[in-house]
Symmetry: C2
């Protein structure tokens, strides 16, 4: 693994700089020499999505993924069907935007057995795969930290994500590995290696884990602020042959309250120093 010396493989998620519109984000990221952007769907509301994609390409800003699809589990058929329709919409949005991949936060229903939710997730992905094939859009299952197992994702480890991928066994179905969710896993190195061997390591997300963490959702750290061995995990990821973007996805009320240009400078500094 080599040191990071430029920003060509740095991608920033629009939610990281939440106060900025997608246009502001594209302008600032491009001006900062950043290579990629992952667009959250809320940022496309009211936009001509094809035009937004074109604006990004005009700035030499590669669209890495559309975030996020998923939330397949539901307690009734209406909910299951609605989730499938929403994921089909996300695939069409990704195609319009020119995003090659959708990140899936797979979903969970409080009180519903996690095995049942995992079955619904696999069924849901299978149901939207034909449309994903039609548009050539990859679907990246993001295992979420076990503290989100109640209502955000029944897939909480790389091992669980790999199990769903094995079941579906399709080249468009893979995994988005986010350090925040998986850093604690004793089996992490073996799981990342396996994911690479199966050609399904689709994305790599960066941030840090704060001590203490004061909020379960919006108290992520900028890289270097927390306890995650970022260089170690990047080494595991790159050992698989992964040469995609290093995506910075920080949800932080603290950072969102700061001047976002200063924050972007801090992201660049932290990226070179700590990743």
């Amino acid at each position: 693994m080599s040191d990071l010396t430029d920003f060509s493989k740095l991608c920033v998620h629009t939610i990281t700089t939440k106060p900025w519109s997608v246009e502001e984000a594209m302008d600032h990221y491009a001006a900062a020499g950043i290579g990629g952007i992952t667009v959250w769907r809320q940022w496309l509301e009211g936009r001509d999505i094809e035009k937004t994609g074109q604006q990004s390409r005009e700035r030499n800003l590669e669209i890495v993924s559309l975030c996020r699809g998923g939330f397949f589990p539901a307690s009734d058929q209406f909910g299951l069907d609605a989730a499938i329709e929403d994921n089909r919409l996300a695939i069409r949005e990704a195609a319009a935007l020119g995003a090659p991949m959708i990140v899936l936060v797979c979903g969970a229903v409080p009180g519903q057995p996690l095995e049942e939710s995992r079955k619904q997730i696999a069924d849901g992905i299978a149901a939207v795969l034909p449309l994903a094939e039609e548009h050539g859009i990859k679907l990246a299952i993001e295992p979420l930290h076990p503290m989100y197992a109640d209502d955000r994702s029944a897939i909480n480890t790389m091992d669980s994500a790999n199990a769903v991928c094995d079941l579906l066994d399709h080249p468009l179905v893979g995994i988005a590995a986010d350090v925040y969710h998986i850093w604690w896993d004793p089996d992490l190195e073996a799981q990342i290696r396996l994911t690479g061997e199966k050609n399904r390591l689709f994305a790599f997300h960066l941030c840090d884990w704060m001590t203490p963490t004061t909020d379960l959702l919006n108290d992520r750290g900028l890289m270097g602020e927390g306890c995650i061995d970022l260089k170690g995990i990047r080494a595991m990821v790159e050992a698989t042959g992964f040469d995609g973007f290093n995506e910075v996805e920080v949800f932080s009320e603290r950072w969102w309250a700061r001047d976002q240009n200063e924050f972007l400078d801090e992201i660049k500094r932290a990226y070179l120093e700590h990743c």
Copy 2:
């Protein structure tokens, strides 16, 4: 698995009713017909510990465990030695109290590799085992939820706890299974079965996972308030032959703010209804 119909196997942790002193807790638990108490060490400060143990036995309240030892990992030798001394003190306190077991929250150091912390945990337990043998005190490793992997425990799954137990291979070293920490684990049933087969399932702790959870430490739910399949997990535990106490360990600012007698009534109701 049979329904719970009385409180003979119900144990309450003193921290669950935090506003009460250990004397108040013993009086109220005994008056409520509750069979057991787990005493947190802070509740013994300034007490004659042998006398406290005697007061509990006079009330026919079985002392289930002393909570908590552990926190073995440290970044320097001074810290490692201090942790071992503190755990030896805990063993002496347990012996004085008449508690047959100490619950270990094993510890972690932010930024220190979790494998290193796990090695320090195994070494720390090995160092205190001779004193535990001398007094016949069981040491129960409690795997903690992965959201505590930064600074509370490098042991975050039943599998990891079993690995340390395998390494030490001693009849006094086992596991405290707390639903809050392990409910999400896809491998839970197999791990509980394995733990039972190895005769090391020492304790079973109950509470619930709130949706949303507003605080990482002190927003646990009373049984039935959250999403955990408590009856399902109790069935797994009892299928191993476990016939120990069902220990209610709820950290909740919300419940601590309530009248504790009312809370104790709610605990009894929730125990019969949801466990």
